[in-house]
Structures are given as structure tokens and as C-alpha cells.
Amino acid sequence: MFTFLLASALVASAASAQTAPTGAREWHEHDTSGQCMYGHGYADSGRTEIVLIQNRLVPPGHLAWGLKNDNWSVKAGDVIGEPVMVRSGAFSMIGNALAMDHRLFVIVPTEEVRKFAASIPSEVVVSKGNQVLTRLSVSGFSAGWAGFTRCLANADAERARQRTQEQQANPDVPVDPFAPVPTQPGA
């Protein structure tokens, strides 16, 4: 169902190149309206990029962890049959990846990335199943993390404000009409 939603999304994301980091860049944060990005560009032959994204299309409390390499032949819509793992020392995150042109994305809980930042990682190894995709220096990740979390906090506050407005505009529309009805005390 709704494969067309994905198609629409992919078309829209094509415009993202101008906001995404390109080439060698230090860890940097974008705070645009309704969207937080935190990324790094590498000066390797594949012009590798790491980018973490939170916008309204990523589930609250989660980040889209994206990895791009111009040498990768992966295309939008490809099925990645094996889980993708991001590992640094004893710390690891794993998830099913979504493919785009030269890119993979994994949705990870923000809290896990927060722990990752707190571990002051110096290198990550990204693998697909048993295959190592890349090994990247991430020194500097933790230093820039604070600015990104401020953006996330602002986005959360904005989301809460919008939800309040929605409830005020349509008080008879429940946030979750399928939520279990709480039982009355003494019932």
C-alpha cells in the first residue's frame, strides 16, 4: 500500500542535495524550519557523507542515519536484504536500511545516538551483514552534538505547540481514536 507515497518522497528528496553536505566538511549542523540535520563530508574518492536527520517525516524520538558514497551503485527502491550495522568499539546500532541513489538510511532511536555521542567515538565501521561498507573517522562528532540536540529540542517544542493548536482547532478529533478507552474507577 502507498508505494506512491515513497515515490513522491523520493522526488522531493532530490532537492535535498543543495542542503546536504558535499565534499570535505567538518561536523556541522543545519537548523532549518522544521528540520534538523547533522552531517560530515569526507574527502575520499566516493565523497562519503554521514548525515543525521530529524524532520516531521522521521518518527518522533528517532533519527534517520544516512550514509552516501558516490561509488556505491545502490539505487532508490533497491531491497537491502541484510541489516546494516553502525559500530564503534563496544557500541553498535543495527537496523534495516532503505536504499536511495548512492545512499542508505537506517532509522535509529535518538537516545541510542545520544549514547553514541556520549561515548566520544573516534571511528565507526558500517557493515551490511558480514560485509564492511566503510570505516570512517568520527572524531569531532561528540563536540558538535550539543548544537544538534538544541535543534532537536526546539523541534520537539515546536511539535508540541503545533499539537496543542490542532487540539484547540478541532477538540472533537482525538489524537488516537484507536486508543483503549480508560476504565472508570470503580467500574
Binding site: 500500500m1 502507498f2 508505494t3 506512491f4 507515497l5 515513497l6 515515490a7 513522491s8 518522497a9 522531493a12 528528496s13 532537492a15 535535498s16 542542503t19 546536504a20 532549518t32 524550519s33 522544521g34 528540520q35 548525515v51 536527520i53 524532520n55 516531521r56 517525516l57 522521521v58 518518527p59 528517532h62 534517520a64 544516512g66 532508490a76 541489516p83 550495522m85 553498535s92 546500532m93 543495527i94 537496523g95 534495516n96 536500511a97 532503505l98 536511495m100 545512499r103 538510511f105 537506517v106 532509522i107 535509529v108 532511536p109 541510542e112 511539535r159 503545533q162 499539537r163 490542532e166 478541532n170 472533537d172 478529533v173 482525538p174 489524537v175 488516537d176 481514536p177 484507536f178 486508543a179
Partner: protein, 171 residues
């Protein structure tokens, strides 16, 4: 090691421009002979309404509404009908549940009447339960492309199933 969230289609939107996040217009598409018409709304639940038509639906249009705040899941027993309505016109079908989604196959004639009324403030209801109230601005004008896609598919299907024409002058 923890097994984390499964990537979904939502991840595809890497750095979608902020402007596009706030308003996505009604959009008709055709994918592999299937006609689609959808809009994603800029609310916190990321409400999405979609219409889908293909040969298997046999003259009906699968109409679905999703909201990521909804706890409904595939296989849930839901009591219908699923109604899409304004003050003056409505269409309905037997509901099915999916992850964060409710949908129903609605006869195309019923939906066509609904569209002709140029609905603006539209409510989705499950029986008497109000699910959503949405502004359908631009809905009718965008439907034209979806209707054309359905008509084309129907014609193509009829050509495939009709018997071969006899050669008027051949042997």
C-alpha cells in the same frame, strides 16, 4: 546489540526542503498500471489520504487514511463503515485496518459523486467515531488526472479481454 527500528518509507525524505514539509499538494501518479491519488497533510500525525485503483479492485477505489499517532494495527477488528463525508455528501465502504491506517474499497461511482460536490471540509468517520477533519482544498481539480488514469486502465483492460476482431476482408 539492539535491533532497532525498521526503516520505513519515511526515511526516504532525507533533508526534504522545509517548504515541501509544510504543504504537499494532491498528487496523481501511475505505477505499474495502478492509479494513485494522495496527499500528505502537515499535521503532527502526518495524516495521509490515498486513493488507489487497479484491476483487482474491480470498479472500486481503495481509500485509506493514515496517521502515525494512531495505534490501530493490521488485523485489528474495527467496526465500520469507514465514511468519508461532508455536510452534504458521503461515501463509504467496509473498513480494514493496517499499521496506523484504516481503509475501505469504495465503489467508484460513489466516490465520483463525492468529488463532484467539490468537498472542502471533509471528515473521516468509523461508524459514529470521528477520526479526522481535513481541508480538501485542491482535491477536485487534482482528481481529474486520477480519473483519467482510471479510464485509461479500464480501456486497456477491456482491450486485453475483448476477443480478436475478425478481419473484415481477410481469409
Amino acid at each position: 546489540m539492539k535491533v532497532l527500528y525498521t526503516a520505513t518509507m519515511l526515511v526516504a525524505l532525507s533533508g526534504i526542503p522545509a517548504k515541501a514539509q509544510s504543504a504537499m499538494p494532491w498528487k496523481a501518479t501511475e505505477v505499474n498500471g495502478q492509479c494513485n491519488y494522495m496527499k500528505m497533510f502537515a499535521d503532527t500525525g502526518l495524516t495521509t489520504v490515498g486513493f488507489q485503483s487497479n484491476a483487482a479492485l474491480d470498479g472500486k477505489v481503495f481509500t485509506a487514511i493514515t496517521n502515525r499517532n494512531w495505534s490501530v494495527a493490521a488485523g485489528d477488528q474495527i467496526i465500520g463503515p469507514l465514511m468519508i463525508q461532508t455536510d452534504t455528501v458521503s461515501a463509504e465502504g467496509v473498513p480494514v485496518a493496517g499499521a496506523h491506517l484504516v481503509g475501505a474499497a469504495i465503489p467508484v461511482d460513489m466516490l465520483t459523486r463525492f468529488v463532484k460536490a467539490d468537498p472542502r471540509t471533509v471528515e473521516f468517520r468509523l461508524g459514529s467515531k470521528l477520526l479526522a477533519r481535513l481541508d480538501f482544498i485542491g482535491f477536485k481539480s487534482g482528481w481529474t488526472a486520477f480519473a483519467a488514469c482510471m479510464a485509461k486502465s479500464t480501456t486497456a483492460g477491456a482491450e486485453q479481454t475483448s476477443p480478436p476482431k475478425a478481419k473484415p476482408f481477410g481469409n
